[in-house]
């Protein structure tokens, strides 16, 4: 049996932060879970899905991959309103998609524990922005908990359900990448019993948000805020450690950096550390007592100066004369963090243990000596190693077909998924991207504003997530563009989760398949063609017809993700090799498609037959027909 399902407590297990959240939910008696996957949150839903699939007799909760975060939250809200303990997970930008239901769900509240996981991503490891979702708690008035590591993530998840039931309001669990993706020993407690079916009890005057109801519900929310604030004042997650006349206020993973820094600097008897684990509502009285008890305070928080502004406001309100420091106001790092680690507390990028130690030492005037950095002048320059589309990835074939015909002439709005890697050379078919689904709608805007040829790219999962409404908009408003749906039959980027367009029979799921072509025709698109991208000539013919069509046209480029295919429906295709006697060194195979199975050795293009999966794209590109399947 999977360790996460152990009924008893007691032992410690090495868990990823995200696995710890799952265990916390299971210990709390989770009955219902929804999500849209997204790094760094994905292992939470993926673990819930895997546990249920591998242990159908033991796992009682309902779980679904929803089509997007708004849908996930609304579905979860329905379950919670029906009295089930519910978890809904998303990455930080997913909360923007879910913001509409979230704002008014805060009014309506919940009838059982409901926890919303929101995973922020300082430094943007795989994300399009690094927004600070602590603002959301302030915007919608829901309590927020922020763990600093895996063990606390488990504990807080469990507590979040209790807090939610105590206040009858959803609770936001806010993590950052370093919490989601760090492992540490996590002590287990007993699993709770699960109730998975209840009756919906009608109460329209509390649950139907017409203005007359909402006016009362807003007052309800404000009263809950006051109650939550009283809880926050006494919360065991708002801790003060150490003693002395210097103060540090911190949260999340920064609390680890502060703890290590204080120990490394030998300052445990000089510095008092206030860690905000329940970060909204603020424990105002406790904070005021804290800042009154010290001479100066340093606020250590990644991203926005949220605690800093709050503490400054409290100091003003209560007339506390204390020196407060935090972000270097107005200062912007000269270089991005992938060039140089951040040198001071700025609003951009994650912090590091060294930065926190140096900043604490500098601010309080503690003598310290850091290990010297190596002088690396004259180092051989490591070549860039950006992620790349896999060997045999069908996206490469689709991109190649289109770039051959339209090159730099067409504008290519793109979207979020593996295929965003089409930005990189030699493909370079990506011109505009802001969020999930933006390819479709922005294509219409660009086409109407410029009259230029516009070919937009979106993945199948992203299309179901938020491409549908944009496509209807394009049809309705007579936009003129071609949408290419890169349909690889899965949600590849985040780990091969299913979505409505996936025929899940092969993976043994009982979900209903919603095929793309009839759906798109039903949306009113007149020109829809499905192509097989590894058939290069036929694909190009179909693409040309679509691009020539006046109005909205759709190409569905259909071919399974090779990584996914290897798992669910392996087929053996012969790898290809270059016949050196036929090869004349045009290097089209190398220069045009940059397949990771190809390399150059002493001026000769070669194929790594271990990596080649036999997609035959290069063979169709070679002007000498020198690329053929390996014999035998």
């Amino acid at each position: 049996m999977d360790v996460l399902l152990t009924p008893s407590g007691g032992k410690k297990h090495l868990l990823l932060g995200n696995e710890a959240i799952v265990r916390g939910a299971i210990e709390a008696g989770l009955a219902f879970a929804t999500c849209y996957p997204g790094t760094p949150s994905s292992e939470v839903p993926d673990t819930l899905y895997r546990l249920r699939k591998q242990n159908p007799d033991k796992v009682k909760y309902y779980f679904e991959y929803s089509t997007n975060e708004k849908v996930a939250l609304e579905c979860a809200a329905g379950a919670a309103a029906s009295g089930l303990k519910t978890l809904c997970t998303m990455k930080h930008v997913g909360m923007n998609v879910a913001a509409d239901p979230l704002m008014t769900l805060a009014y309506v509240g919940t009838r059982a524990g409901m926890v919303i996981l929101c995973a922020d991503d300082p430094s943007m490891f795989p994300s399009q922005n690094e927004q600070d979702n602590r603002y959301y708690a302030r915007l919608n008035g829901l309590p927020m908990l922020e763990p600093s590591g895996a063990a606390q993530a488990k504990e807080m998840t469990k507590y979040a359900f209790e807090l939610s039931e105590e206040l009858m309001t959803p609770v936001i669990l806010r993590t950052t990448t370093r919490v989601n993706h760090a492992r540490e020993p996590v002590p287990f407690e007993k699993k709770a019993r699960v109730k998975t079916q209840k009756k919906f009890e009608k109460a329209p005057m509390q649950l139907v948000t017409v203005p007359a109801v909402s006016r009362n519900l807003h007052l309800r929310l404000l009263n809950i805020h006051n109650q939550a604030q009283a809880i926050s004042e006494k919360s065991p997650y708002n801790t003060i450690k150490g003693r002395g006349k210097w103060g540090v206020i911190t949260n999340g993973v920064s609390a680890c950096y502060v703890e290590d820094a204080v120990a490394d600097l030998g300052a445990k008897s000089k510095i008092k550390v206030f860690t905000l684990g329940m970060s909204w509502p603020l424990p105002e009285k406790k904070l005021v007592r804290f800042i009154k008890s010290v001479d100066k305070v340093l606020i250590v928080e990644e991203l926005e100066p949220i605690m800093e502004e709050a503490v400054r406001a409290l100091a003003q309100e209560y007339g506390v004369k204390v020196e407060i420091a935090g972000k270097m106001k107005g200062q912007v790092p000269a270089k991005s963090v992938d060039v140089e680690p951040t040198q001071f507390f700025s609003r951009a990028f994650e912090y590091t243990p060294r930065l926190v130690r140096q900043s604490i030492a500098d601010y309080f005037g503690i003598k310290h000596k850091d290990t010297a950095e190596l002088k690396l002048a004259g180092m051989p320059v490591p070549p860039g190693r950006p992620p790349n589309l896999c060997a045999g990835c069908p996206h490469r074939a689709t991109y190649h077909a289109i770039k051959e015909m339209y090159g730099q002439e067409a504008i290519y709005p793109t979207d979020i998924g593996c295929y965003t890697l089409g930005l990189l050379p030699p493909i370079q078919a990506a011109d505009f991207l802001i969020c999930m689904g933006s390819s479709v709608s922005s294509a219409g805007g660009i086409a109407m504003a410029t009259g230029q040829k516009v070919i937009a790219f979106i993945g199948d999962s992203t299309f179901f997530h938020s491409g549908l409404t944009g496509l209807v908009n394009g049809v309705h408003n007579n936009h003129n563009f071609t949408l290419v749906i890169l349909d690889n039959g899965t949600t590849a980027m985040t780990g091969h989760q299913p979505h409505p367009g996936v025929d899940t029979e092969a993976i043994g799921d009982i979900t209903t398949h919603v095929p793309l072509e009839p759906l798109i025709k039903g949306l009113g698109v007149e020109h829809v063609t499905t192509i097989k991208p590894f058939k290069v000539r036929a694909s190009q013919k179909a693409i040309k017809a679509a691009v020539d069509f006046e109005g909205v046209s759709v190409i569905i480029s259909q071919e399974l993700c090779p990584l996914y295919e290897k798992r669910v429906a392996p087929r053996s295709r012969k790898p290809f090799a270059i016949r050196e006697n036929k090869c004349k060194g045009h290097m089209d195979c190398i220069n045009k498609i940059a397949c990771p199975a190809m390399f150059v050795e002493a001026g000769q293009a070669r194929i790594n037959t271990q990596a080649c999966i036999g997609c035959a794209l290069c063979a169709q590109i070679c002007p000498e027909n020198a690329i053929l399947p390996v014999k035998g």
């Binding site: 795989p126 120990a263 243990p353 004259g378 190693r385 790349n388």
Partner: protein, 195 residues
């Protein structure tokens, strides 16, 4: 015990995350405090993969510039890429077998010779172990066992508070059964090469 910060770097597919996770498991079984951190994301798509195992009292899950005690690199130029994590006392263990990225194949950047990379590191640091880890993995008849070779080399070259016996027990228990024997062989070959 003082803190020991071990950074692993490699290329997607080389098994870096498994290595750090197994080391973390072994630390837990040996009763050591441990934190393991990982950068996921595009690991399967040939990008750089970095992880860290922090043994001892520290609670921070990541290792800052100049603060790694050990840097284990699965690929020679990746050792260079993360060399800023090292200081003059850092132990660097690197595989010498190159795995050039596609940027090299399409002529966007040259690939430094493996010997030059190792020579540069040796010029900067006293404690450097450079082995053909991929060759040893192949000798163990399991080309995917480079991560086990590198773990073996780590146990030989670094002074870890975890018994080799515990590490091997974890490898046997947590890796696929049909690879268990070749994984242990690879670990031993790595250990021998770095001892």
């Amino acid at each position: 015990m003082s803190t020991q910060r071990i950074v692993f770097v490699g290329v997607g597919g080389q098994g870096n995350l498994l290595a750090s996770n197994l080391l973390g498991q072994a630390a837990l079984e040996a009763g050591e405090d441990v934190v393991v951190s990982e950068i996921h994301g595009m690991a399967q798509r040939g990008g750089v993969v970095e992880s860290a195992v922090i043994l001892g009292e520290a609670t921070s899950p990541i290792v800052s510039v100049a603060e790694a005690d050990v840097l284990v690199s699965f690929e020679p130029v990746e050792a260079l890429r993360l060399l800023n994590k090292a200081n003059k006392d850092t132990l660097v263990i690197t595989n010498t077998r190159p795995l050039p990225p596609f940027t090299v194949a399409i002529g966007l950047a040259p690939y430094p010779e493996s010997e030059d990379s190792v020579a540069f590191i040796k010029d900067k640091l006293d404690k450097v172990v450079a082995i053909d880890g991929q060759g040893l993995a192949e000798e163990a008849k399991n080309p995917l066992s480079l991560n086990m070779v590198m773990l073996g080399a780590l146990f030989a070259a670094a002074d870890l508070p975890i018994p080799v016996k515990t590490m091997k027990k974890v490898i046997r228990a947590k890796t696929k059964k049909r690879f268990a024997a070749s994984n242990i062989k690879a670990f031993d070959l790595g250990y021998k090469a770095a001892a």
